[in-house]
Amino acid sequence: MTNLSRRTLLQAMGTGALATALASLPTFAQDRTAIRIGYAVSKTGANAGGAGISTIPNYLLWVDDVNKAGGLELSKLGVTLPLEVTEYDDRSSAEETVRAIERLATQDNVDFILPSWGTGSNLAAGPTFDRFGFPQLAGTAVTDMAPQLAQRWKNSFWFLGGGHDYANALVNLLVKQRDAGAINNKVAIASVADGFGIDLSKAATPAFEAAGFELVYDKTYPLGTSDFAPIINEVSGLGVDTFVAFSYPPDTFALTQQAVVANFSPKVFYLGVGTAFPIYPNVAGPNHNGVMGVGGIDPDSEAIAAYFERHTALVGQAPDSWASAVTYASLEILGQAITRVGDLDKSAVAAEIASGEFDTILGKVKLVDNQLRALWTVGQWQDGKFVGLAHTEGKAAREPVVPKPAWVPAS
């Protein structure tokens, strides 16, 4: 006992002393060979699937793009420096995320920290980013709390909107279709009982009701459900023209397959996260055509097309058509803000992100109250692209195809 405690204590104090010593070392610009970027992302655990599609590839791509271009120019220091990455695996745990950020901030002394994937991890990381004064560019967090969070943590930036944005856009779009006589008044909603599904269904249910839709089915299913036959069987007998699922990727794929098998082919088939994934057309085969979902891209944008190409070349697969481009744009904003400030002053960079206008693959972007308010909210697969049908600010890239083509039975 004596030995143990003394030893632990010494160790703890030793680490501490070392940390203090490291932290107090002054860093001179002329000693620098790189701008240090750090991030902890979910390489394992429950979030690994999402991070593997929307977050990690874009971090890799951005670093690659910047370094191929010679790095970022720091005019005040008179150098142009490449990016150097320190990465950790947060193992999909909030506790690990927080500690990894503490480590990046105080041990590795990185200049900027990129956040992990998902709403929960970004919220968990908020206070820590704030404490160390790092700008937090949450590219994959959907939360209606964003305005309050941006006030609470001054250097936090929220890029993916809240549940209301997506739900309201969907309802507006469907109101137009109904009023044009393309669909009937009945809607069925199935939501995953997890953060995303609940946030969206909480916003969608009253919006549908306010718009005069009849919600004949509005239920949740647990995270990890593998069999959707009961849900599809029940819904298919209700005479709905619109089926909405606020679902996670495995559910999205399974729901599609089940609907095809049960030959439940409503005029509007809308599915939550995963529809915009590049793998979706593989899963759904010819039936991906006309399926709607969260997100979307501008199919006519050359910047987006070039981004898809670079992404595919580096990572081996196309990005998803929702959070990927937004995540990449958030990184472009960070890079441009650093160049404009001309050194690595975190608060100056954060201030620039908050106030400046930036040129990104999404077009010209200016944040409002620390939030990206220019978002694609509803998308639909048309001609091999997941095109934006609704945008919070601009107009639609394409008109919705309603009814969607009937399912082609798989062979």
């Binding site: 699937g49 647990p222 459900t225 495995p250 794929f253 030959n263 759904a284």
Partner: protein, 290 residues
């Protein structure tokens, strides 16, 4: 409506039973609580997907490649890693503790390899996703096929265990590992075979579920736990129990989802499982301890 729910439930339950059968062999006979079991299932799924998408090999044919691979891999794992532990353990408690730790490590290794090879993305391919009408209920052909395969493997295994000498030996070891050597049975050998056989079944389960489920490198734990629940609910080492428990869980899940609330399906699964154990602590078909 009710009939179709029961039918859908049976088909789902067939999958549960299939993935549980291998584990019940491994735990019931080899006394290894294999936490890496689900990761072997996922490995089977990856193989099937690779064979199907890259070489166009039908998953049914892939079974003939993947199952022997699973068998061989499990054989090696047992021979290299678990047998020394089994020999070293003075008693069952000790082996259980050691095997939990060691297969927990194996879980990470398999998962890590899958992550390096395939990344963390969700994987899926479309095979036989065509509707088939069974007595007025529409069911996907691939699920029906999965059910048929579950029945096939179940019956095959049952015949193997009840009609062959090897099966008799396996059952003897499962029933009483202590006295098996007295009648000239090489317990080591039997345990290794049973473990390998269980691994083959896991790989088969992986091929089958890959036909209709989305999977990813990190999803193995889910299968392990589902299989464990089915095994425990049915009674350790009892094939019939695993079958019954799998079907019960499938039907309950579907009925709850259809008639009560999809939000309660998993809660209902665990509730049924816990209720069975409270009433019958040894599982549905298990014998009372000692």
């Amino acid at each position: 409506m009710r009939f179709s729910a029961i039918l859908t439930g049976l088909v789902l339950g067939g999958t549960y039973a299939l993935i549980a059968m291998g584990l019940t062999l491994q735990y019931g006979v080899a006394r290894i609580m294999n936490l890496a079991y689900g990761d072997l299932i996922i490995a089977g799924s990856f193989c099937a997907m690779l064979l199907f998408t890259a070489m166009g090999i039908n998953p049914l044919i892939a079974l003939f490649i993947v199952v022997p691979l699973g068998f061989a891999l499990s054989w090696l794992v047992y021979a290299l890693m678990l047998q020394p532990l089994a020999r070293r353990s003075p008693n069952r408690d000790r082996l259980e503790g050691d095997s939990i730790l060691a297969t927990f490590g194996l879980l990470f290794v398999i998962q890590g390899v899958a992550l390096v090879l395939f990344g963390a993305n969700y994987q899926s391919y479309s095979f036989l996703a065509v509707p088939i009408d069974v007595l007025g209920t529409t069911i996907a052909a691939n699920r029906l096929l999965a059910f048929a395969l579950a029945v096939l493997f179940g019956v095959g295994l049952w015949l193997l265990l009840t009609r062959t000498r090897f099966g008799t030996v396996i059952r003897a070891v499962a029933a009483n590992p202590g006295s098996a050597p007295l009648v000239g049975i090489n317990v080591d050998h039997v345990a290794r075979l049973a473990f390998a056989l269980g691994g083959g079944l896991a790989a088969a389960g992986g091929v089958v579920v890959s036909m209709y489920l989305t999977f990813s490198a990190t999803m193995g734990v889910i299968f392990t736990m589902k299989a464990l629940i089915v095994v425990i609910m049915g009674g350790v080492g009892n094939l019939l129990g695993a079958l019954a428990a799998g079907l019960i869980l499938g039907v309950v899940e579907t009925l709850v989802s259809s008639f009560i609330d999809p939000g309660l399906t998993l809660a209902a699964t665990y509730l049924i499982f816990l209720a069975v154990l409270v009433v019958r602590p040894q599982g549905l078909f298990g014998k009372a301890a000692r």
